[in-house]
Amino acid sequence: MSDTPVITRQDRDELRRQGILLTSIEEVYNWGRSRSVWPLQFGLACCAIEMIAASMARFDIARFGSEVFRPSPRQADLLIVSGTVTKKMAPQVVRLWNQMPEPKYCIAMGACAISGGPFKQGYNVLKGIDRFIPVDIYIPGCPPRPEALLHGLMELQKKMRGEKLTGPDVPRNKQPDNPCEYPVPEFGAHDLEPAKNPDIWQPPAPVRPDKP
């Protein structure tokens, strides 16, 4: 590999000054799709109001190309889980996620979607949506400010721009063992069945300081 000519950043800048843009398919593809992430118009609770506020004139999510909230999961790229997911609602959320076409991303917005938040002790509250669907960005807050949502979106764009199209580091949706559908839990007699998707979520191992 070392004897192949490598185009350095300086070379590129020099070419750009001459009016020649040098890029790769991967870069153009990622640049394009990261600038038009269409979220699903899907509000769960309090955070949904801040999500709406982010799409209004003051915060203006359109600056980041994400103002097109789609009512149908078939047209959406991004699932913003904005609020408390209850055990009655969890099957519907997973089903919506399954209905979205790849490549798709998930933002867990707010404390409830991350971990159950203030309602964690509740008997009907799911303690984090990452037990059932893979989450890309976590935005803490109760509710997060619209600026925090915009920051989360920018982080997601950064993640998308760094994705590879080939090779061993391809994202989740290009890996051969990626499940097309995630198992939808059912509202059972006592709890959701299954209570988690063990392929994507395991309870964190408790960290105990070594005894001296």
Partner: protein
């Protein structure tokens, strides 16, 4: 069927049309709207049975946002429930706080200083402005005016949220009221900002009304749609703007003046048709009255403490008993019923949510209207699912 003059097919009644009509007539279609549906204001589900486009049966399904408020309230201290009340009706955290504080103050026999009472009125009326403005925006969104009216509404909402944020530290979840007063004393600059918002509000209302109130499409979509009779509204326990749109003169601020509402001059607007348009207009008129109350309160607010110095904060244990505190929230009567057994936690913590009770007449209002009207009727009830499901 086809001979009746009301049938849409009557002018076309030929043998062929009659055959088609007879073949399809009476086939009912059951549609499940929600829990993920753009028009249901959250995770609400309507099982609608349709004859053509006409609603013949509507079964609401809720519980998708049941967050165990009442159970959590029994397991935390009295003050610990205050932040949870913010999350009931997440548009109106200040009025929820006030209703809960009022219930606990009744239970504990706690007095509130004058300045705090004035502050509560100011914040409650700001909340009413905020809620009704957002409702007008969402109602127009449901009617199909996608985006623009809601943008106007949220522009004004941000101004009020800025006030709340600079006062309490949070935009939506204010957690501001305490048992025996308020948490932070506003600065003079805050009052100046509040006066500015109050002064500018009528101008926004004029602008909004000029664009919306006389709009032909809105009138065609809402007038005569979702009519609710006063008798049904009273017997179903409907409160708030929905009840007053039917012409029933019942406002807790007048009927059972809590706080310092008896000191202010304002009128209670009443509708006379009880349809969706009246429910929209009542909110607009109430906002104008709220501005009047705000002007009086901001003018008259006395100096002094905002918190009763004798109020107990640590180890707050009211003696055994029960109390029900209720106020006129923006959506209706919001009440908290508490039973104390003398310990630090309430024995029973019950919420009377206005939008849940108002939702019970949804089917009665929707029957006979088209499915598109059901959406706008639901929008005019002004539900928030955090409060409906609790």
């Amino acid at each position: 069927m086809i001979e009746s003059p009301s049938s849409p097919l009557a002018p076309l009644a030929g043998a062929h049309v009659r055959a088609v009509h007879d073949a399809f007539h009476g086939d009912l279609l059951e549609v499940s709207m929600g829990p993920h549906h753009p028009s249901t204001h959250g995770v609400f589900r309507m099982m609608v049975t349709l004859d053509g486009e006409t609603v013949v049966k509507l079964k609401p399904v809720f519980g998708y946002l049941h967050r165990n408020h009442e159970k959590l309230g029994e397991n935390t201290t009295y003050l610990g429930s205050m932040p949870y009340t913010d999350r009931l009706d997440y548009f109106c955290s200040m009025t929820n706080n006030w209703a809960y504080a009022l219930a606990v103050e009744k239970l504990a026999g706690q007095a509130v200083p004058d300045r705090a009472e004035y502050l509560r009125v100011i914040l409650a009326e700001l909340t009413r402005l905020l809620n009704h403005t957002c409702l007008a925006g969402f109602l127009l969104q449901d009617a199909g005016a996608s985006g623009t009216p809601l943008m106007y509404a949220f522009r004004e909402r941000e101004k009020i949220l800025d006030l709340f944020e600079s006062l309490s530290g949070s935009r939506m979840m204010c957690n501001y009221q305490r048992f025996g007063g308020c948490r932070v004393d506003p600065t003079p600059a805050w009052f100046d900002a509040a006066r500015r918002v109050t002064e500018e509000y009528p101008r926004f209302l004029d602008e909004y009304e000029a664009l919306i109130t006389g709009n032909e499409i809105l009138m065609a979509r809402t007038q005569g749609v979702g009519r609710l009779s006063a008798a049904l509204a009273v017997s179903a326990g409907i409160t708030g703007p929905m009840l007053r749109a039917c012409g029933v003169d019942y406002d807790l601020r007048k009927a059972e003046p809590y706080g310092f509402y008896s000191r202010f001059e304002f009128r209670v607007p009443l509708g006379d048709h009880g349809d969706t348009y009246d429910r929209y207009m009542i909110r607009i008129l109430e906002m104008r009255e709220s501005v009047k109350i705000l002007q009086q309160a901001l003018r008259d607010i006395p100096a002094g403490p905002i918190f009763d110095s004798k109020a107990k904060i640590r180890a707050f244990r009211p003696k055994a008993g029960e109390a029900y505190g209720r106020i006129e929230g923006p959506k209706g009567e919001i009440g908290f019923y508490l039973i104390s057994d003398g310990t630090g936690n309430p024995y029973r913590y019950r919420i009377r949510p206005p939008s849940f009770v108002n939702l019970t007449v949804l089917e009665d209002m929707c029957l006979g209207h088209t499915i598109a009207d059901a959406v706008i009727i639901l929008g005019s009830i002004d539900i928030v699912l955090g409060e409906v499901d609790r």
